[in-house]
Amino acid sequence: MGTYVLRRLLLMIPTLIGITFLIFMLIALSPGGIGAALRAAGGSMQADVGSRAIQEAYLEDRYGLDSPVVVQYLRWLHRISPVKFGERAQILPTGEVVGQPRAMREPPMWRWFLNELPPEPAPVALETAPDEKNGEARSRAWSLASNGYARARSTYVASRAVFEQRLGDYAKAIGRGDLVDYRNRPDLGALSKLSPDKNSPAWAEVEKAWDATITAYRAGLDARARALGVFEAQLFPQVGLPVIPGAVSVALPDLGTSFARGRPVVDLIATALPVTLLLNLIAFPIVYLIAIPCGMLAAVRQGRWQDVTLGGVFVALWSIPTVWAGVLCLGYLASDQYLGAFPVGGLNDKDAASFTFLPTWGEMGFERGFLLDTLWHIALPVLCLVYGGFAVLSKQTRAAMLENFNADYVRTAKAKGVEQKTIVFAHVFRNSLLPLITMFATVFPATLAGSVVIERIFSVPGMGSMVIEAIYLRDREVLLANTLMIAAVNLLALLLADILYALADPRISYK
């Protein structure tokens, strides 16, 4: 059993990699690509003509969008992997985690101008290391160095973007417009195979832009050397545990920062997941508590009016679309024009922050308190989550019970005069529970996913709305983190189901 579980767990790693790779590629290959979120976020269409290329270059540099898609994927994989390679990151007093300053990307087409690139200077060691105890001085040393590098790097990125635009002009001028894309960026690989035509009218501008680029590149290398010096002085505590010092370490996965919302994905999930869990963890027991007894009743009264009625009602409920039910609930139960008995949306009253937790009877009369307020607010969303779930579960229970009713051991029990109640509860029901347990294991991951429709209608800020927005905006980090989470939970639940099978049924064993 132990080896089986271990084997399954190890097999999950390639499966997860496969799933995330697929999603990553789907986003990358979809119209608009990964960067679409950055350009489309907030529907802002206003941008300055001249600085558009530069602005895009900044974004591409910040999120690493200028590397090939596979490299981007590997970088993402490294971030979420618990096993890290290279120097360990450090944690600043503000709680911010900083890694080694990123390497400078070499300027394009440098072979046209130089025989070799300027060498990367060695890290500049701090002349006087700030006092051990003086946290402020250390923070200052770091922020000075990192800000200096950020400035130098952004100057370089901007001048490189201008240089590429000039190369685009140049390529058009020498009659190779076919190498230039619609953003006026040339195909650098193809262009570098040509030898420069210094007599072209566009050449002077290219040279000017190159001078700016290489100057900025040198300045960037120097600034990076200084930042690296501060980083290597290890002024701050390091993250994670070393396995091979300086090369391999173990640390928590980093899910990254949302493109569109500019916040760490962990924070986003941490706000959305409890909401979804709250709804589902209330809804699921209700479904089970109602569906199973009804299924039992239907099995016991097979073919009679109880069976037919329950079956009919549950299937009818199951076939009502959630959108319609949600709108009806809102229009009739929440609107003051009709019943107006429930709140329109949200999770709490606007003054909930000043409520006590428990209901109170004070001078102001009855106050419902935070607990009742929450329950009252989630009543309609939970109703919409619940009503469709009865049919499947009660039919499943009914079928399992009927199968057992016809089994030999039930006939034996009846023959020896066991009470009907004992037969139903002690014998048949217990044996019918097995498929329900395994079904729960496979249904459980759905509790994390949230329902887009219900969340939207009732203004519930859960996982469903987060994911749908991330899809609209091609928010890579949020989508990948979410996929990873759901996939991992799904795989674990499947494993759990298999283990439960073995535990419940002695005939099944894994070797």
Partner: protein, 648 residues
Amino acid sequence: MQNRFTLKDFVLLVVVLAVGVSQWLSMVQRDRDRTQMAKVEEQLGTVAQQLGRMQQSLDQNAREMQKIGSALAEGVVARPATDGGAASAGPRGGRDESWARPGVAVEWAAPIGFTNDPTKAEGFVEGGEFVQIFEGQPAVVTSFRYGDTYGRYVNDEVVESLGRYNVQTLKLEHLLAAAWQMDPEGMWLRVRIRDEARFSDGKPVTAEDVRWTHDDFLYNPEVQADRFRSVTNGIAKIEVLGEKVVEIQFKERRFDNKQQAALMPVLPKHFFSRFTPAQINTSTGLLMGSGPYRFPSVDPDNQWAPPQDIVLVRNESYWGPRPAVERIRFKVVQDSLARLTTFTNQQADFARPTAAQFDKLKDDPAFLQYARAKMWYNVQGGWSFICWQTGPRAGGKLTPFSDRRVRLAMTHLIDREKIKRDISKDLVRLATGPFNSETPQANPRIQPWPYDVEKAKALLDEAGWRIRDASGFRTNEKGERFTFQLTFGQGNDSTLQMVTYVKDQCAMVGIDCQLAPIDWSVLQSILDRRDFDAITFAWSSSAPETDPTQLWAISSIEGTGDNFGQWRNEEADALIKKGRQTIDDDERMKVWHELHRVIHEDQPYTPLHEQPWLRLVNNRVGNFNMYRMGMDVSEFFMRGGAGSSKQP
């Protein structure tokens, strides 16, 4: 099976009961703590309010003293002020202009006040909460970091700039500035900041705050504010000349230099410099300014974060005219029906309905009992259009629309009155061109081209697109059929109806129009590639004057500029260049009007409709005025006063 109650069961029961009771007791204890905390907070709030009022009266006294001082210095006999004192701007009479550059006129601020004073309105009361519904969830509202109109909306109430547009006249007027001097050549703007201007924590607004906001916040490469950098890209340098005097220098002579400088928000250096760039980048609601409202908490560990309601409280020590409403609450409701129900349940005071909802409610007597449906045109309303591809599509073939006659024929072919009446329920009006007609930029003399099918046919014939065979399709001399794709964003019913109508009209005269629905996220890349024959969407702007270079200049055809219709018109280009360099407002408007005419004549776009603002307003909201800039929340008051919004 016989069950006996054993000792084990007893122990278990006791343990379970003990856990339950202690849980209950801890909840009760928490509630007691909470009540205590609430009392303390309430007292703190009262103290803060009192402090704010003291600060205000101190400020007022200081100003009075200053006035008396300057009057005495001039040898004038002091007389009690009769102009309401607090609202006057800067010392009168002997104004100190030693800070200014000599030889250039100084413009002093007019007395600051409301456009429509709420205290003079009928039934005026102080206090209360104004609840507005947002249709989308803002992710971030931190200054220069937000990415949507909601973030801008919140910032407008909290953060101020040196100047602002007058909501009614649309003229640029002083806000934090007591006076300014604009270089007649348009290369610099020198500003004297008001002495009384303070941030919401009581610290004065200084020249250094202006410089710091630009140099060390907006242009700090580590702060992810690049989206906003293009808004101030004309500024070359900001120089601090004194505690309250700042000079902004510009890169080139351009008409919008003054706007850029005057409209840049001013952030408190002493507050924001406490945070690292990473803290600012990951913040969600780090916001402080000198505006009439403030965030209740500016603590980075206790900042606003979605999905909470955004609550702004009145800045009790505000230096300007004091708003009546005590709290503004922005509540997010994304579903349109839920939005309407929230409004009709009177849990919100202000909401944006869909056109269909508005049409149904505007004459509903039950609705009019407690609310109003308002419709007005203002500079923030958008205008929809069909843009014709006048250049080669995606670097390939020229489309039929490269011919002016064809574009004009298309405009004549589309009955915009009919669309307005039948599809838009008369909730729009016809647009004429590149500028919103509420702005001074638009040429009021230009009338929309009439609907005239015969004229359209004649123009098409003239352009060489004739019906030459029994198929009924128009072809050119080479025998190529007149066919084009009309690209539109999917998901909007009225757009779908409109493009279907256009397709029918085209079929009527022998043009094959194919509909090409797209997802909004790919719009930008389609525009960048110029990969369309005709495309329809809408432009909107938040400012009364926009730079036409972005959409209409020849230079914007290159690369990924926004002249995606590749319209190349030398006359218009010359006018744009001229307008950009004209500093005088009246002169420049004449140039823009001329540009409007040229664009109208050449029809690179077929302008469709201008969209008004449709809003539902609860009758509780007093002094609600519709302005050309939109509206002014700081003027409102809430009938019923404190806690006026109905408790659900």
